[in-house]
Every structure is written in structure tokens, then in C-alpha cells.
């Protein structure tokens, strides 16, 4: 089991992730309805459906191209807070990076670390603000630790998935500082942030693909 994906495989992993996100629409709708405006599921569906169409019909020279295509498609088609936030999660990390032709734990950790910085720069949210950062930041920390330990990609994704899920769970305990749940104050406590759950589904989906299709 090699520990990296080529461009083609990276694309397939993203296609699978997109499909899983689209399937999660009803659940995400339910979560965003409880404390937001209920459109997160639809938004993610629109973004990932458009991204998958681009992935299916395009040709890609590098890993960077794939991240950029997914992210920029989300930014330009989704709208809402999550269009920018999740678009930046994918397109924000590869900005200015040298073209890569293999994705391994190290390069994924680097891309995602830069992406996290970009999302925080755009959105001004920190852990504890009840946003996707609650899941994304611990996931990125896990990726970095795996990279430092030279874990393979699957192991790195397992750790990221685990931390993202824990982060999403933790988001239940927070009051919201952003978006429409903010006005709920303490009434939002007990509900997870929909975007944090999305992050955990994204890492889970990536892990599932890598687990099944080898790496």
C-alpha cells in the first residue's frame, strides 16, 4: 500500500466526497434548520454537484488544479457564507504553491494548514465560535501530527476524521458568534454547527475512499 494518490485518484476521491456530501443534504438541512436558516444542505449540494461536474468533464495537470477547481466552483456557484468558507477550505491552501502530482499525508497537511489560515482570515472565526472551524482546526492539527510522524495518507485521514467528528460534537457546547445562530444565544447550545458536521463528513468521505481504493 503506497502512501499517496496521483492526480487521477485525487480526482476520484473528491468525486466520491462530493457524492457523500450530496447524500447528506437532508441531514445538513435538518441541522441548519435547528439553529440557522436551513439552507446549508442545499448549498453544499449545489457546490459539490457543480464541482463534481467540473471534475468529471475537465482534465487536470496537478493536484493543485483539482483543489482549485473544487474550491473555486464552490465559491462561484454556492453563495451564502458557506460558499466562501468551504470554497476557501479547498482553494485557499494551494494558492501560490508549486504544482504537485502526488497527494500524501505531508502535502495534504500543508495544503490544509494554509487553507485553515485562509478560512480564518476570511471568516474571522476561532475554535469555540460554533463554526466549521470547530471541526476544521483540530482536523488540520491531526494531519500535521500525522505528517510529522510520517503516517501514511489513510492513517492521517483517520486521525483527521476522528478529530473533526470530535470537534463537531464539541460545537454543540458553544454559543454561536457568527451567522444566524448568533441571535439564539444560549438557545443554540446542544445543537452542533452544521458546517462543522460538514467538515467531519468531508474527512470521513476522503478516508472511506482511500481505505477502499488503496493509496
Amino acid at each position: 500500500m503506497t502512501s499517496s494518490l496521483n492526480v487521477e485518484q485525487t480526482r476520484d476521491m473528491f468525486l466520491y466526497t462530493g457524492e457523500q456530501m450530496i447524500k447528506s443534504k437532508p441531514y445538513l438541512t435538518e441541522l441548519d434548520s435547528a439553529i440557522g436558516d436551513g439552507d446549508h444542505g442545499v448549498g453544499m449540494e449545489v457546490g459539490f454537484a457543480n464541482a463534481n461536474e467540473k471534475l468529471r468533464n475537465g482534465t487536470f495537470a496537478s493536484i493543485n488544479d483539482i483543489f482549485k477547481t473544487v474550491g473555486m466552483t464552490m465559491i462561484s456557484t454556492m453563495g451564502g457564507a458557506s460558499g466562501i468558507i468551504f470554497g476557501t477550505m479547498f482553494a485557499g491552501g494551494i494558492k501560490g504553491m508549486e504544482p504537485l502530482t502526488r497527494l500524501d499525508a505531508g502535502s495534504l497537511a500543508e495544503i490544509m494548514e494554509r487553507a485553515l489560515a485562509a478560512v480564518k482570515e476570511r471568516g474571522k472565526a476561532d475554535v469555540g465560535d460554533k463554526t466549521m472551524i470547530d471541526a476544521f482546526e483540530p482536523a488540520v492539527r491531526a494531519l500535521k501530527e500525522s505528517a510529522a510522524r510520517s503516517d501514511d495518507l489513510l492513517e492521517a485521514l483517520r486521525r483527521a476524521e476522528e478529530e473533526a467528528a470530535r470537534g463537531a460534537e464539541n460545537s454543540k457546547g458553544y454559543e454561536a458568534k457568527f451567522g444566524r445562530a448568533k441571535t439564539l444565544g444560549a438557545r443554540a447550545i446542544g445543537h452542533p454547527d452544521a458546517g462543522a458536521v460538514s467538515v467531519s463528513i468531508i474527512f470521513r468521505s476522503m478516508r472511506e475512499w482511500v481505505e477502499r481504493h488503496g493509496a
Partner: protein
């Protein structure tokens, strides 16, 4: 839920096509994005408004003479993507700069800000005024966290007149900000609305309760309380509203009684009757009033009261004519 639509995914595009089918003599739509602009480009500062769809006639209905030059529309309750805002910006820019006016919501801020960066790269100067009239959405010490609701219309009116008068971008921006600073709104909801395609309303309310201060996407307000006679509800709303700026005896205001969707014009007029009484009692004079459903939340039941305090400068721009499909004023 029962809606007259085809497919939920197509509502915004089909709405725009229907708008152009009706008003295409004066407006055109952009090709790949959900934007509408005036057909005739004016040699002046351009005003771009926008936000999520589902609040019609806001925003699409307020493009036109003396108001906005273009509207960027997102999906229902979702900010438009930066590409849409950028395309509208490019379509209306006449080289004198573009002013962005929108309600202060996280998604809109993110998307319009990114569009502004993209516009800058294309050599178009933009300024932004975020509308923050909803007093229920944050206390007055966090006034910049407040959301924009029906007060949008007041800001569009003043900024639109300033732009039409040929003022430079900084001046149009200053006047828009001044209009926003002098505008306050508060809303109540009686019954929920439903998003196209959703099988449940956006919230539920007991049969005898209202949500005081609810936002235009169903954001919770300040408190739930029993439904009471209209006059009492208005009195409570006016207490909050008047104390906020504060509005004082001797002030002159413009009033907007805004329906949220299914509340009848009869009810809105009954509300206005009381609003006028309260203002008279407080020694505040009413310069002009509009009563109608201008900023809605699908078929939500309820209404909002908006007051804009005038000084001579604001009054001058308020007096200028405006003519759009859903907002008209003759020169006064």
C-alpha cells in the same frame, strides 16, 4: 408545502425570467448569473444591491430610476456568490465607481467583500455600506452586528437619489451611511414562511403567540409573547424603536410599515393608524409613509415598522423622484 413553482432549484432563475418578461422594457438580466440591471447605463456612480432571494420585491424590484442600477441575487436566503456580484458590478460601472448596499449578514459580507477585491483587480472602485436597521438583532452597543431588514429601502432611496444627482462615490457612500445611521426597524412574526421545496415551515409558533423581533430569515427575536390587539403590539414595538436612536419630540421621520408576506394590507394600515398616533403623541412629525410588503420572508405572517429620521439633507434626497417596478415616488 403548496407553492406555485416548477422545480425548487430553478426558482431564482425563473423568477428573474418572469421579471424580465414583465419589465424587460427597462431591465435586462445577465447571462450566466442571477443579476438584473437597468438597460440604460447612466453616467454616474452605480449602485449595486443584493442578497439572498426570497424577500421579494427586495432586491429585484428596487432597481430603477432614483434607486439601484443593478441587483445581485443569491439562492433563497443565501448571499449571491462573488461572481454574480462582480458581473453585476461590471455591467453597471460607468467609470465613476460602484456602491454596494446590502443587509449586514455574514454570508453577504463575505461574498460582497470578495467581489470588491475582484472588482478592484479589474480596476473598478467600490465602496460598501452595510445596512443595520434591525434593533432586535443586537443591542445598541453592538450596533455593527445588527442585521438589515426593511430599512434597506430607505438607504436605497437616499443613495439612489444621491447617485442620480451626479454626486461622487464618497458622497453617495456618506449619504447612504447617514441614511442607515438614521434608520431603525423592528419586526414581529405571527406565522412562519416556507422555503420553496421544503416540506416544513422555517419555524413553528403556538397559535396564540408571536415572536417579537424576529428576523427576515426566521432568526429568533427578543422574546415570544401572546398575540395581543394590534395597538398594544405596536405600542411595544414603538417603545423599543423610539428609544433606540433615540427619536425625540421635534424630529421628522419617514415611516415604512412593511408586511412580511401573508399579512394583509388591511392589517398593515391598521398598524399604521396606531404608529401615526404614537408619533403624534410624542411630538414626532411624519414626513411621508409607505405601507406595503416590500421586504418579505416568503409567506411569513407579521410586519415590521421602520423609521428614518430626516434632516434637511436627507429630506432633499428623499424628495427626488424614484421609479422602479415596486417602489415609486414623484418629485416632491
Amino acid at each position: 408545502m403548496k407553492k406555485l413553482i416548477n422545480q425548487p432549484e430553478h426558482v431564482v432563475r425563473e423568477m428573474i425570467e418572469g421579471f424580465i418578461a414583465a419589465y424587460g422594457r427597462d431591465y435586462r438580466m445577465l447571462e450566466n448569473v442571477n443579476g438584473v440591471v437597468r438597460k440604460e447605463k447612466k453616467d454616474k456612480v452605480a449602485i449595486v444591491i443584493g442578497g439572498g432571494s426570497g424577500h421579494e420585491p427586495l432586491f429585484i424590484g428596487f432597481v430603477g430610476e432614483g434607486m439601484a442600477d443593478g441587483a445581485a441575487m443569491g439562492n433563497v436566503f443565501a448571499a449571491p456568490p462573488p461572481d454574480t456580484v462582480l458581473a453585476v458590478t461590471k455591467a453597471v460601472d460607468a467609470g465613476k465607481g460602484v456602491l454596494y448596499l446590502y443587509g449586514n449578514y455574514a454570508g453577504d459580507v463575505l461574498n460582497f467583500d470578495m467581489a470588491a477585491e475582484l472588482a478592484e483587480m479589474e480596476g473598478i472602485e467600490t465602496r460598501t455600506v452595510r445596512i443595520t436597521d434591525d434593533v432586535a438583532s443586537a443591542p445598541s452597543d453592538r450596533i455593527h452586528d445588527r442585521r438589515g431588514i426593511a430599512g434597506d429601502v430607505m438607504v436605497f432611496k437616499i443613495a439612489g437619489a444621491a447617485a442620480e444627482a451626479g454626486l461622487p462615490l464618497e458622497e453617495v457612500e456618506r449619504l447612504a451611511r447617514k441614511a442607515n445611521d438614521n434608520t431603525r426597524s423592528i419586526g414581529i412574526a405571527l406565522t412562519p414562511g416556507t422555503l420553496p421545496g421544503a416540506d416544513r415551515p422555517t419555524f413553528t409558533l403556538p397559535d396564540d403567540e408571536i415572536e417579537f423581533g424576529m428576523g427576515i430569515h426566521g432568526e429568533p427575536g427578543i422574546r415570544r409573547e401572546k398575540l395581543q390587539p394590534a395597538d398594544r403590539l405596536v405600542d411595544h414595538m414603538m417603545d423599543l424603536l423610539l428609544a433606540d436612536l433615540p427619536f425625540r419630540a421635534g424630529d421628522e421621520v419617514v415611516v415604512l410599515i412593511n408586511g412580511l408576506g401573508s399579512t394583509t394590507l388591511m392589517e398593515l394600515l391598521i398598524v399604521n393608524r396606531r404608529v401615526a398616533q404614537v408619533l403624534r403623541d410624542k411630538g414626532i412629525s411624519v414626513y411621508d409613509t409607505d405601507v406595503g410588503s416590500l421586504c418579505t420572508t416568503q409567506e411569513m405572517g407579521g410586519m415590521s415598522i421602520t423609521l428614518m429620521r430626516l434632516d434637511d439633507e436627507l429630506k432633499h434626497f428623499y424628495d427626488q423622484p424614484a421609479y422602479t417596478p415596486y417602489y415609486q415616488k414623484r418629485k416632491r
